[in-house]
């Protein structure tokens, strides 16, 4: 007996030794690797912030100097100031941070780059442009840039640079058919260092809002431009912007460390570092929150379910919620072979009860939506009626359309073909599945079969572009994209939005009206246009509005100062600080 | 080419005949030696087995494989155990060294070592040497690992090994030590095993079928070797074999086993010249020899371990049975002329009456 014990212990000891040695090796390697990553990332995004000419430091006011010294201090090791790092999570990797392409996560582009204007509470406010005049005929805009704005590498913001950036986007405008201003801008000239004048072909209602997007019309520093001067094509050299944060350290697929931009023109953030962990699965994010590995999660992708939100709230996490301007809705493929029939579309509209979705999926956190555009978009608030939940009408319409329910079958058929519709949604839209389940139930009641198709973002966009779907579930752009950019995108040969409307009988006329609306300066006429647009959307049941999205945030109760209202930033962590 | 081969063939044959010749002479010598040793009555006893009874455990059941065998081994003498395979010879050896797994075998009776002797003084040689060595360990390793057991330094061991190997007729001990078991011939390995056994300076050498797996010529060489070693180191040998010739050439005492019973036991010359038990006779009769014109083989085969034996185990194959033979098992009773000190035992009701009927 004793003997065996001895043997066992011996064996286990040996084993333990093995393990330690093994993992030890792994461990050291890991570190080495991380270092390598860091170097790589730093060489990629070389941080000039640390070595700025002396005089400029003098010039910078006390606060800035403080930030400066911090950068110096922290450059060595961030571990020293763990307190000073705010840890967030985001499902996707940072990517190449190209300011003129919509590939990198929006929050990051918003943090690092600024546009000329910004949108706060539905109002266009100055950002890099302090003020602007619009000529009477609305064809000439002259912007006056903010004084003394510096990029994170210390270089100055000049009107030339602004023009260079905008020109780069204009040169590649094929990708941005939803930016009407790119069409209209004929020329730009720079009378002086801080003034930029744009000459337009026609008046452009969307110009100011287009400029407020956090991509692609944002201003990158000189250091960002490759030799060719074409960021869009040849990629960004260094992500240098005027934004609140700068990319300090980036390890692909693991995390990004943002450092406070010492030259930021606005109010400095309280934290000097923000660390964004890449965590693809929402469940893991929640666990990480519970385990205190991340301080805060701001849910911009509608990934957090109401149940979990409530659970975390119950566990003593601080939570915050702001009703957004995005509307989650179904776009029915008017060119599809089944949904091409308007009565089927109307039937589906009648059969959809979005209050249930608001309750079941979002636990009341998101209100049912009334139209494709959020209520805050006053222009879109026309008399257009709405479909409320009346399944019997749906049944009647379907019967009329010849979709009969045979004995012993769950779903309607029309000369042999089953009445089934594919619902397509992006895989990051985690609640899409639940919504799908609810809709499946509701449509089953009227004899329509719904297939839930989750697709990766790439494929999702592809299918959307090619019109290869029954209905699409997504949240409208909201913010300053509404209404004009969306209209622009809905036009034929516009962005993927247009494919949905291909089958509308009055599509040509609709296009004309939209184009008109984009240029019409007269308030009254504009409203008429919108009335027409919204009515035809309604009559032909192109969109089924579901809920008005709301941004959720869950964070450690030791933090305070998060302000989701206003929706200027995608992830407004600037004001967040630790409680004293 | 062909011619060469034939030459080789003939040469081989010559060699063999020469060997055989030598062997015959040697056996004669051995005979003489035997008489010589037989003279000295008071050779000391090493170990004595007392009514060893080995039975196979199967849950509650017990199957007796060896029935109360007892014999003694004397210094410098060779005891030959002969019997068909499966008659319990090997078991006996293992019991002697107590190698039997306790949870499989049940051993009754005593193995009593006389003062000054112990299991440590026993070397063992097993049959088919090829499988007796660890395939992934060099032979030198096998020697070296004895260091722990014998309490000698590795260098010492190696030196010993080399000399022993040389002694046992291996001309290039270094190479052998440095090679793996599967690289050597059976004869070689047997020699290696012998020297490995001798390493511990044993007083008793248990040779369990030492020659079975070898071809005929090497067999004789090995036996020769054993004989010499015996002379040289004065060790006694427990030679186990199913081959009468082998026993005959070596043993001074013979113990004939059948189906786990000792059926006849006694000095070699008596047992071989005047066998008492019909089985022994059978064996002798079935042995080939120059004089014989034809060999009579025995019919039938020995009972298996699980077969229930009533009466004399040999009865079914015996030529001269009476009904008693089938009823109860005859005891192992002394026999033989009192003038020689050697007792001659036999397990038969009609011991020696064989010729009469």
């Amino acid at each position: 007996m004793k003997k065996r014990k001895m043997k066992m212990t011996a064996a286990l000891l040996a084993a333990a030794a093995l393990l330690v040695s093994g993992c030890g090796a792994g461990q050291t390697k890991t570190d080495a690797d991380v270092d390598r990553q860091v170097e790589a990332s730093l060489s990629a995004y070389g941080q000039e912030a640390a070595n700025v000419p002396e005089d400029e430091q003098q010039a910078a006011n006390g606060q800035e100097a403080a930030g400066q010294s911090e950068v110096h201090a922290e450059a060595g090791g961030q571990e020293a100031a763990q307190e000073d790092v705010l840890v967030l999570a985001y499902p996707k990797d940072l990517g190449d941070m190209n300011p003129h392409i919509m590939a990198s996560p929006m929050y990051a582009q918003d943090w690092v780059y600024d546009g000329l204007t910004a949108l706060v509470n539905g109002e266009i406010v100055p950002e890099l442009a302090e003020s602007w005049e619009i000529s009477g005929d609305g064809k000439q805009y002259s912007f006056h840039l903010r004084e003394g704005v510096k990029f994170s590498d210390g270089s100055d913001l000049t009107a030339d640079l602004v023009r260079k950036n905008i020109q780069d986007v204009i040169d590649n405008k094929d990708g941005y058919t939803f930016l009407q201003c790119l069409e209209e801008i004929e020329s730009m000239d720079v009378p002086d260092k801080t003034t930029l004048v744009m000459h337009l072909a026609h008046p452009c209602n969307s110009l100011l809002s287009d400029l407020s997007f956090n991509r692609p019309l944002v201003i990158a520093g000189e250091a960002a431009f490759p030799e060719s001067g074409n960021i869009y094509q040849d990629g960004v050299k260094k992500p240098i912007g005027t934004g609140m944060w700068t990319v300090e350290e980036y390890v692909q697929d693991q995390y990004t460390l943002f450092a406070r931009n010492p030259y930021y023109w606005g109010e400095k953030p309280a934290f000097s570092y923000v660390r964004v962990e890449v965590i693809p699965e929402i469940e893991t994010v929640v666990n990480a929150l519970k385990a205190g590995e991340i301080d805060m999660y701001i849910d911009v992708n509608d990934g957090l379910s109401a149940d979990v939100y409530r659970e975390l709230e119950g566990l003593g996490f601080s939570v915050d919620m702001a009703e957004g301007t995005q509307v989650t809705s179904l776009s029915l493929n008017t060119a599809g072979e089944i949904l091409g029939d308007v009565s089927v579309r109307q039937a589906l509209s009648w059969a959809t009860d979005n209050t249930v979705i608001s309750e079941m999926v979002y636990g009341g956190l998101q209100k049912p939506a009334s139209s494709y555009f959020a209520d805050s978009i006053s222009l879109a608030q026309t008399g257009a009626g709405r479909y409320n939940y009346q399944p019997e009408k749906a049944v009647w319409l379907l019967e009329e359309a010849g979709w009969k329910l045979e004995e012993g079958r769950d779903y309607r058929t029309k000369n042999g073909a089953e009445l089934e519709v594919d619902m397509l949604y992006d895989t990051v839209f985690k609640n899409g599945k639940t919504i799908g389940l609810v809709l499946q139930e509701q449509y089953k009641n009227v004899g329509v079969k719904l297939n839930i198709c989750e697709e990766d973002s790439q494929i999702f966009r592809k299918k959307w572009k090619e019109g290869d779907f029954g209905m699409i579930l997504y949240s409208s752009w909201g913010g300053s994209y509404e209404p004009f950019a969306t209209l622009a995108a809905m036009r034929t040969n516009g962005d993927k939005f247009s494919t949905v409307q291909k089958g509308m009988e009055n599509k040509e006329e609709l296009d004309q009206v939209m184009n008109h609306a984009l240029r019409e300066t007269d308030e009254e006429k504009l409203r008429e246009d919108f009335a027409y647009i919204m009515d035809s959307f309604f009559e032909q049941a192109v969109y089924i509005p579901l809920t008005v999205s709301s941004t959720l945030a869950v964070y450690n109760s030791s933090l305070e100062g998060l302000d989701l209202e206003g929706g200027k930033d995608v992830m407004p962590v600037g004001s967040v600080k630790r409680k004293q | 080419m062909r011619g060469k081969e034939q030459d080789l063939q003939q040469q081989k044959i010559k060699e063999q005949t020469a060997k055989a010749q030598a062997v015959i002479e040697r056996t004669a010598k051995a005979q003489a030696a035997k008489e010589q040793t037989a003279k000295e009555q008071d050779s000391e006893e090493i170990v004595c087995l007392d009514k060893i009874k080995i039975s196979l455990k199967e849950r509650e059941k017990r199957f007796c494989a060896v029935h109360g065998v007892s014999f003694s081994l004397f210094r410098g003498r060779t005891l030959g155990i002969i019997g068909e395979s499966g008659c319990g010879k090997t078991l006996l050896c293992h019991a002697l060294l107590d190698l039997l797994e306790k949870d499989k075998w049940e051993v009754e009776g005593r193995v009593c070592w006389n003062p000054g002797f112990s299991v440590r003084d026993v070397g063992m040689i097993v049959q088919n040497p090829a499988s007796a060595f660890d395939p992934r360990m060099k032979l030198s390793g096998h020697f070296r690992e004895m260091a722990g057991v014998l309490g000698l330094s590795r260098r010492k061991i190696t030196e010993e090994a080399l000399s022993l190997l040389y002694r046992t007729g291996i001309r290039d001990p270094k190479r052998v030590l440095d090679s793996y078991a599967f690289a050597l011939s059976g004869g070689m390995l047997q020699r290696v095993m012998i020297s490995l056994a001798l390493l511990g300076k044993p007083k008793l050498l248990i040779a369990d079928e030492p020659t079975t797996a070898l071809d005929i010529t090497t067999q004789w060489e090995i036996l020769e070797l054993l004989g010499e070693l015996k002379q040289e180191y004065g060790i006694s040998i427990l030679l186990v074999s199913h081959d009468l010739k082998v026993i005959q050439s070596m043993a001074e005492d013979i113990c004939v086993m059948y189906a786990g019973y000792v059926v006849e036991q006694g000095p070699a010359e008596e047992v071989l010249t005047a066998p008492l038990h019909p089985y022994t006779r059978g064996l002798l009769a079935s042995r080939p020899s120059y004089s014989k014109t034809q060999i009579q083989a025995m019919e039938g085969c020995p009972p298996g371990i699980r077969d229930w034996i009533l009466g004399c185990p040999f009865a079914p194959r015996c030529g001269y049975t009476r009904e008693t033979c089938h009823k109860d098992c005859p005891p192992l009773c002394n026999w033989g002329k009192e003038n020689t000190g050697k007792v001659h035992r036999v397990r038969c009701f009609l011991a020696g009456k064989g010729e009469r009927t």
Binding site: C23, K290, A291, E293 | A132, F133, R136, M146, G148
Partner: protein, 312 residues
């Protein structure tokens, strides 16, 4: 020895060739042509001109065989082209993940050794004993638990309840523990069983008996004779397992947000990122083949017989 190695190495080449061809073909079977995929990934509008340009750039206008040739030639210099999705060289993408996956697999193997060795021995020493039965039951349990399920339970218990180990991420020793254990668990049973079988089998061998006859202690016999022999098959199949682990770690990586190859490949497949998929298949296959070659050689070194047989 030398010619043995040569034969092994030569035997490897056609294998790799086959694999590469298959990898190329497989991915070509994917629906939708690469050019559009590329443009989609670029998030650029799909126009005829653009398509033609891309096809020229990616050499998609050439006949398939030529494409394969070019691809293979580049692949030999570890150049699998650019990832459609991230625009980074595929090899970088892969190596990034590969390193972490390798660490994970490596530590899993360590666990396997750590557990299966003592367990196997304990079970094999006394076959049929209570210990044996018990270990057997345990290993069966371990090998049958779905890895993700186990992962959840471990996280819930160690990370959230006890707050001992991190939930996600990589880098520190603590991070490795849970994933590697989860990964190892399903392989434990197999190896414990194998080892047990080997020990039982070899304990009955003549040379063990003979060793005991020579008066060697049971323990010495176990460690010096039985174990080395019993470990031989274990080693061989460890090579096989390593390969399957490398690719099988995907689920575990998903559960623990481990930045390994699994994440890369799942993303790539979901986004039809052909170059990455091809590269991945080729890299894994190559690693697998090389690993097994290594194991073969190792075994051969431990077991001289192979060579002698080769020579004769």
């Amino acid at each position: 020895m030398k010619n043995y190695l040569q034969r092994k190495l030569l035997g490897m080449l056609p294998l790799l060739f086959l694999v590469s061809a298959a990898a190329f073909a497989l991915v070509r079977l994917m629906p939708g042509d690469a050019a559009t995929a590329y443009l989609n990934a670029m998030n650029a509008p799909i126009t005829e001109a653009a398509l033609h340009k891309v096809q020229k750039d990616l050499g998609l206008d050439k006949p398939v065989v030529v494409q394969y040739g070019i691809w293979l030639k580049q692949a030999l210099s570890l150049d699998f082209g650019l990832s459609y999705m991230t625009k980074r060289p595929v090899i970088d993408e892969l190596m990034l993940g590969f390193y972490y996956t390798a660490v994970l697999t490596g530590s899993a193997v360590v666990w396997i050794i750590v557990f299966s060795l003592p367990l196997g021995i304990m079970a094999g020493r006394r076959p049929g004993s209570f210990m044996d039965q018990f270990i057997r039951a345990m290993t069966f349990l371990g090998s049958s638990i779905p890895s993700f399920w186990l992962g959840f339970l471990l996280v819930e218990f160690f990370s959230l309840r006890l707050k001992l180990l991190p939930v996600q991420g990589a880098g520190t020793l603590k991070n490795i523990l849970l994933p590697s254990i989860t990964l190892a668990c399903s392989y434990l049973a197999m190896y414990t069983k194998m080892l047990r079988g080997g020990i039982v089998e070899h304990s009955g061998g003549t040379y063990v008996l003979y060793a005991r006859a020579r008066g060697l202690k049971r323990r010495t016999i176990l460690w010096r004779h039985i174990l080395p022999n019993a470990l031989n098959p274990v080693l061989t199949s460890l090579g096989l397992s390593l390969g399957s682990m490398l690719s099988g770690a995907v689920i575990v990586e998903n559960v623990f947000a481990w930045p390994g190859m699994g994440r890369v490949i799942v993303r790539a497949v979901a986004g039809r990122d052909y170059p990455v998929i091809q590269g991945y298949i080729l890299v894994i296959a190559a690693v697998y083949i090389v690993l097994n070659l290594g194991v073969d050689i190792l075994c051969a070194m431990l077991n001289q017989r192979i060579f002698t047989e080769e020579e004769t």
